[in-house]
C-alpha cells in the first residue's frame, strides 16, 4: 500500500532514505527530496482539506509557491501555520494537517533562532532557472559581485521538473562554478519577497526548516536578507494558470506543468488515468512524461481547432473544451462540451502561463497585456533592472538561456564590468511552438466555476461585483476578495482579470491587472523580528555604576533607553516605605545618587556666549568663569523645550547640561541653528554625556562628606558658594565639583571620568558611612524636587507650557534683544490670564494620593457632560517632610486661585483639594547653604 503512486525509478529524490511523517492523523512514508505534497501524492492522498467558505474538498493543485489549495498546519516539531504542502520539504518526524483557511500559532515561545544579513552586490539575480543561471554565470565571469537567490533547494528552476538531462548537467556545472567563485553568493531555499526603490530587495532564506527536529540549534532557522544591488535581473519564471469551468476545484484537477514536475522531479504519478485539457503546447510535454511514467492518458482536449487529432496514439479532441469535472471528493470523470465523458481520476489543465511579475510590479514596473501571449508581461520600470526568460514571456529553454545571457551581460556592463567567458550553453531539442488560444470562462454553472480556489471566489461572485457596477479589477478584487489569500493570486490574478473582462465585454489589456505589493510569498513574523527580541529588542543604556546598583538591590526605572535606579528597597520595604526613608535621609543627613545620565555638551569658541544667549531665555553671557546658572530653552513657539545648568569653564567655553531624555535633541538643536541660521558664529559643540559620570551628594551633611574626600578643597559656604564649581581632586580622582541643588538641600554634583565612576562612588559611600549616607533613586529625587516646586520638563510640561506658566518669569530675560521664543511671548494667547499655571495641590483629607493625570473640576458634584476642566495633576507623591501627600498640577489661572478648593473626580468620588504655591518645602530657601 505504501507509496503505490511512486514510479519505480527516476526523480531527484533519494530512494535510499525513507522519511516517516504524519498527515491528518495518519502515518506515511516518503523519501528525502520530497515535498509534503509529493509525498502525499505518492501515497495516493490528493485532498488536503476543505475550502474556507463552502467546505468543498480541495486538493493539491500546483507544485510550488503558487499553490492555492494545499494549506497545511505543521504541528511538530514546532507549530507553524499557513504553509503550503508544495513548499514544505519532507523530513523525518514531520506532523502536519490540512487547513481549511486559518492555522494557529504556537502558545509557547519558538526556541529556534532567526536572524538577518545585509548583502551588497553589483548584480542580483532572482531565480536560478535557465535564464537566471545564464545571467548569473555571465555576470560572475565578468568579475562583478553577484548574488543569486532561488526558492528551491537546488538551482535549475523549471528544468528540475523535466527530463532534460543535458540542460540539467549544464545547470549543475554552472551552480558549481558560482559556488566556487568567492565574489558570488548563491542562496538556495531563498525567496525574494520584496523589491523596493534603488534596487533594495528583501529575501527570506529557509536555512534549517528542512532538517526538522535535527536542525542545529546554533544556526538561525530562517534568515532575512536585505540586499542592495546596483543592477537586478529578474528571472522569476512563470506560473501556469487554469480557467473557469464547472467543478474546476475538485481534487484531481491539477495544473499540467505541476503534474509533469511531480512525475519527473519526485517520481510520483499524481493519478492513474488522466484527461489533459489545454489551450497551448506546453501540456503535451506533461502528457508525454506522464505517459512514459505509466499514467494512462484518456484523451487530450485541445481548445485549438487546428490541433493534430492524433498524438502518440492518444485521441486529441481538437477545438473542444470541458463542460465539467465530475466526482464526489475527487475527479471521477471529465465531461466534454459535446457531452462525451471520459472516466479519469486526474484532469490536467493548462490555460496558459503568467510571467511572474510580482516583484517587478512591486517596485513600480508596468505590466502590459500581451495579446499573443495571453498574459501580462513587463513593460518598463524605473529601476536598473532586466527581466529575462519566462518572467519576460519567453518560454522555450533556448530562448530563456539567450535572454538570461544578454541580461547578465547588460547588468555586468552597466555596473562597469566586461562580460567574460562563460560555459557553453546546452543544446535542447524543442519543437517550434504553435500559437495558443486564450480562454477565461467556459459556459456552465457559474456558481461552481472557481476563479480563486483559496478564497472560494466563483464566476458568479465576480458577476455580482460587475452587476453591482464595478468596472475596475481593483474594486472587484476588494469586493470579492479574489487574489487576497496567502498565494496573492499567483494562479488566479490574471484569470480574475480575464473573467471580469469577459463579463464586461472589454479587452483584458484595457482592464489591466491589480498592483502587486510585498510580500511576494508569506513570511513569518519570527523571521522578520530576527534577533530583535527579548533583551535585544531595544538597547538598554546603563551608567558606569549599573552593576553596583544591581548588586545593592536597586529597582530600575526606564528613562528613554536608560535604566536608572528607581529606589533601593531594604528588606520588607515597598516603594513608599523606601522612598520615605530615602527622602528623610537626604533632608536630615546625607544621600547620594547616580546622576550620570544627564546630557552634557561642551560649547566653545569666541561666540559661545552669544549662541547660549540666543538659545536660553535668560542671560548667559554675564555668567562669570567659575560660576553656574540655571537656564531654560524654549522652542520658537515660546514653549519650554529643555532646562539645565550652564557652567562657565572659560571666557570662551561652557559646559551645558540637559535633561536625560533630551541630550541628543538639544545638541541637534544647537547644531541646527549653527549650521543653518547663524553660520557666522564661531562656536563648536561636542557631546560629552558619557565622558563624565556624575554623583549627586545631597543633604545637610554633604559638606562634611565632601570635606573628608577632598581635604584640599575649601568647602565653607564663603569659599565655595552656591552655583559655583571647582576643579579639584576628590578621593584622589580628578574631579569637577559643582554646587548645585535639585532638592533645596545643601548639595554637590561630583563629576569624574566615566572610567573613575565606580572608584568615586565607592569612596563617597565609604566616606559617608559615618554620616549614615543613603543611596537614593529617581523616585526620591522626584519627591524632593517636587516639594520645592521644581518642574521636570516633559512631566510637568507637555510642549504647551511657557516659562511664565511655570511661574518662572525670572528666567526670561527682559534685557536681551532677542532669543528663541521671545517673539511668541508677546502673543495675546501667551498673555491670557487663564492660561494653565503650575501650582501645588494639597488633598483636604491629608491622606489621598492623587493619581498623576487626574483631572480637576470646579464643582462639588459633576454636572451633565461636557464637564469644564480646570487642568490636571502632573506630579503626585507622598511627602515625608510634609507628612502628607501633595501634588503639582497645571490649572487654569492657577496662580490667581491660591487657597481655593477644587475637586479631582476619582472613580465615583470627588476628592476636594486646595490650591497652593508649588513650593511647599522651605519656601525661604534656608537649607541650600546647609
Amino acid at each position: 500500500m505504501s507509496q503505490e503512486f511512486r514510479t519505480t525509478s527516476g526523480g531527484r529524490i533519494d530512494r535510499d532514505q525513507a522519511v516517516r511523517f504524519r498527515f491528518g492523523g495518519r502515518d506515511y512514508e516518503g523519501y528525502a527530496g520530497d515535498t509534503l505534497a509529493s509525498a502525499l501524492l505518492a501515497n495516493g492522498v490528493i485532498q488536503t482539506s476543505t475550502s474556507i467558505k463552502l467546505g468543498r474538498p480541495r486538493g493539491i493543485f500546483a507544485a510550488g509557491v503558487e499553490e492555492p489549495n494545499a494549506l497545511v498546519q505543521v504541528e511538530e516539531p514546532f507549530p507553524e501555520p499557513m504553509l503550503t504542502a508544495t513548499t514544505v520539504e519532507l523530513y523525518d518526524g514531520l506532523v502536519a494537517r490540512g487547513l481549511p483557511g486559518q492555522g494557529r500559532l504556537a502558545n509557547e515561545p519558538d526556541p529556534a533562532r532567526y536572524d538577518a544579513m545585509h548583502a551588497h552586490c553589483d548584480v542580483l539575480v532572482v531565480g536560478a532557472g535557465p535564464a537566471g543561471l545564464a545571467a548569473a554565470s555571465v555576470a560572475a565571469a565578468s568579475g562583478a559581485r553577484v548574488v543569486l537567490v532561488d526558492d528551491q533547494p537546488e538551482p535549475g528552476g523549471s528544468l528540475l521538473g523535466t527530463r532534460e538531462t543535458g540542460a540539467l548537467d549544464w545547470a549543475a556545472s554552472v551552480a558549481a562554478d558560482l559556488r566556487a567563485n568567492p565574489e558570488v553568493r548563491l542562496l538556495t531555499r531563498t525567496t525574494a519577497f520584496g523589491y523596493y526603490d534603488d534596487n533594495y530587495v528583501i529575501a527570506v532564506e529557509r536555512r534549517t526548516n528542512h532538517l526538522g527536529a535535527a536542525a542545529p540549534a546554533h544556526l538561525s532557522r530562517e534568515r532575512i536578507w536585505r540586499i542592495r544591488a546596483r543592477h537586478v535581473v529578474l528571472a522569476t519564471g512563470a506560473h501556469e494558470r487554469s480557467l473557469a469551468f464547472d467543478g474546476n476545484d475538485l481534487p484531481g484537477v491539477m495544473l499540467a506543468g505541476a503534474a509533469r514536475t511531480y512525475v519527473n522531479r519526485y517520481g510520483v504519478r499524481p493519478g492513474r488515468r488522466a484527461v489533459v485539457f489545454t489551450t497551448n503546447d506546453s501540456a503535451y510535454a506533461a502528457a508525454a512524461d506522464l505517459l512514459d511514467a505509466g499514467v494512462e492518458i484518456a484523451a487530450i482536449v485541445d481548445a485549438r481547432p487546428d490541433a493534430n487529432p492524433q498524438w502518440r496514439g492518444v485521441e486529441v479532441l481538437a477545438g473542444h473544451t470541458i463542460a465539467r469535472a465530475r466526482g464526489e471528493d475527487r475527479v471521477a470523470a471529465v465531461v466534454l462540451d459535446d457531452g462525451r465523458e471520459f472516466a479519469a481520476d486526474l484532469l490536467l489543465v493548462s490555460a496558459g502561463w503568467n510571467p511572474a511579475g510580482a516583484l517587478y510590479s512591486q517596485v513600480g514596473g508596468r505590466l502590459r497585456f500581451d495579446a499573443d501571449l495571453g498574459a501580462f508581461r513587463p513593460d518598463g520600470c524605473r529601476q536598473a533592472v532586466e527581466v529575462a526568460g519566462a518572467a519576460n514571456g519567453t518560454y522555450p529553454v533556448v530562448g530563456c538561456l539567450a535572454e538570461g545571457t544578454a541580461a547578465g551581460q547588460k547588468a555586468a556592463e552597466a555596473t562597469g564590468f566586461t562580460a567574460g567567458q562563460v560555459r557553453p550553453l546546452p543544446t535542447i531539442d524543442e519543437r517550434p511552438a504553435t500559437p495558443p488560444v486564450h480562454l477565461w470562462a467556459l459556459p456552465g454553472d457559474e456558481a461552481t466555476q472557481f476563479v480563486d480556489l483559496q478564497r472560494d471566489v466563483t464566476v458568479a461572485d465576480i458577476r455580482r461585483a460587475t452587476g453591482a457596477g464595478m468596472r475596475s479589477v481593483e474594486h472587484v478584487k476588494r469586493y470579492t476578495t479574489a487574489g487576497t489569500a496567502h498565494d496573492q493570486g499567483k494562479t488566479s490574478g490574471t484569470l480574475t482579470s480575464g473573467v471580469v473582462a469577459h463579463l464586461l465585454g472589454v479587452d483584458v489589456g484595457d482592464l489591466g491587472t491589480t498592483t502587486f505589493r510585498p510580500p511576494y510569498a508569506p513570511v513569518s513574523f519570527a523571521a522578520l523580528a530576527g534577533r530583535d527580541r527579548g533583551a535585544l529588542h531595544d538597547p538598554v543604556r546603563v551608567t558606569a555604576l549599573h552593576s553596583w546598583h544591581e548588586a545593592h538591590g536597586a529597582l530600575f526605572e526606564n528613562v528613554g533607553q536608560w535604566k536608572r535606579p528607581w529606589y533601593y528597597p531594604q528588606a520588607g520595604e515597598d516603594l513608599h516605605a523606601a522612598v520615605r526613608r530615602e527622602c528623610r535621609a537626604v533632608r536630615e543627613g546625607v544621600g547620594m545618587m547616580d546622576a550620570s545620565t544627564l546630557g552634557k555638551i561642551d560649547v566653545q569658541g569666541p561666540d559661545a556666549a552669544v549662541l547660549l544667549d540666543r538659545l536660553y531665555t535668560n542671560l548667559i553671557s554675564t555668567l562669570k568663569v567659575g560660576a553656574i546658572r540655571y537656564g531654560v530653552m524654549c522652542r520658537a513657539d515660546g514653549m519650554v523645550f529643555d532646562d539645565g545648568t550652564v557652567i562657565r569653564l572659560a571666557s570662551d567655553r561652557f559646559l551645558v547640561t540637559t535633561t536625560t531624555g533630551n541630550a541628543a535633541a538639544v545638541l541637534d538643536w544647537m547644531e541646527d541653528f549653527l549650521q543653518t541660521e547663524w553660520p557666522d558664529l564661531r562656536v563648536r559643540c561636542t557631546s560629552v554625556t558619557e565622558q563624565w559620570a556624575t554623583v549627586a551628594l545631597v543633604g545637610p551633611r554633604s559638606r562634611e562628606v565632601l570635606g573628608a574626600l577632598a581635604p584640599h578643597l575649601p568647602v565653607d559656604n564663603a569659599d565655595f558658594p552656591f552655583m559655583t564649581w571647582r576643579d579639584t581632586s576628590v578621593a584622589g580622582l580628578p574631579a569637577r565639583v559643582c554646587r548645585i541643588s535639585f532638592s533645596g538641600e545643601l548639595a554637590y554634583e561630583l563629576n569624574v571620568s566615566w572610567w573613575d565612576a565606580l572608584a568615586l562612588w565607592e569612596a563617597v559611600y565609604a566616606a559617608g558611612e559615618p554620616f549614615g549616607i543613603t543611596t537614593y533613586g529617581t523616585e526620591t529625587m522626584h519627591v524632593l524636587r517636587a516639594e520645592k516646586g521644581y518642574p521636570i520638563i516633559g512631566q510637568d510640561t507637555d510642549g504647551t507650557v511657557t516659562p511664565q506658566d511655570l511661574g518662572m518669569d525670572w528666567v526670561v530675560s527682559k534685557k536681551k534683544p532677542d532669543f528663541v521664543g521671545k517673539r511668541s511671548f508677546a502673543r495675546a494667547e501667551n498673555a491670557r490670564p487663564d492660561r494653565k499655571h503650575l501650582v501645588g495641590l494639597l488633598p483636604d483629607d491629608g491622606a489621598t494620593l492623587l493619581p498623576e493625570g487626574a483631572h480637576l473640576v470646579e464643582m462639588e458634584t459633576l454636572p451633565e457632560p461636557p464637564v469644564p476642566m480646570l487642568g490636571h495633576v502632573t506630579s503626585s507623591y507622598h511627602s515625608a517632610a510634609l507628612g502628607r501627600p501633595f501634588a503639582l498640577a497645571l490649572i487654569r489661572g492657577g496662580r490667581d486661585r491660591m487657597g481655593e478648593r477644587v475637586y479631582a473626580p476619582l472613580g465615583e468620588a470627588l476628592v476636594p483639594v486646595t490650591i497652593t504655591s508649588p513650593v511647599l518645602y522651605d519656601p525661604e530657601g534656608t537649607r541650600r547653604d546647609g
Partner: protein, 203 residues
Amino acid sequence: MAEQTLLRQSPLAFAADRLAEVTRATGGAVYIAELPFLTQLNLRLDPKGPAAEAGALELGVPLPTGPGAATSGPAGSDELTVVWLGPDEWLVIGPPGTESDLAARLRSAIGDEHAAVVDVSAQRTTLELSGPRARDLLASGCALDLHPRVFGEGASAQTLLARAQVILVGRRDGAFRVLVRASFAAYLVDWLIDASVEYRVTR
C-alpha cells in the same frame, strides 16, 4: 595617583571572559576584544583654515578630507588614527594615557585659531573585531557594504550596528574597530556574543 589608575574601570571590563569565550567557541572564526582606555579627542576646526594644517602637522597624520575616511600613522604602540566625523569634525584616536598630553600639544599647535579640542576618551570604548567571520558578523547588524574593496583599511563610518550608534573603522588584515558609547557597550556586547552563536564550532 597610581592606585587610583588601578581602580579605573573600562565599560566592558566585566565582559572580557565572555568575549574570550567567543573566540574559543567559534574556533577563532570570530575574535572580539575590548581595547580599553584608548585616547580619543574630538577635534572641531575649519578644514580649510590654518588650524587644520597646524593640527595635522602636530599629529603627523593628515586629517581625512571626506566622509568614510580614516587616516593612520605608522603602525605601532604609539599609532594615531584620525576618523572623519563631519566637515569640521574628527576623532583622534591614540594610545591609552596620552589624552592630556596630546590635547595640550594640539591646543598649543593650533594657537589662537578657533578650534575645539575635547577629551572624549571615556565617552566611547573600543572593540577590536577580527577573524574570518568578523565581516559576516558585522553584516548581520550593519547595513553598510563591508566588502574589502569598499570598506577596507582606512575606511570609517558613523553608522548603526544593531540598534547602537557606532563609529566603525576598517583596519589592516580585515580587522575592524567598533567605537561605541559607554552606555551602549553592554548592549552591543550582548548582541555581538549572540550574533557569534551562528559561528560556533560544533562537535
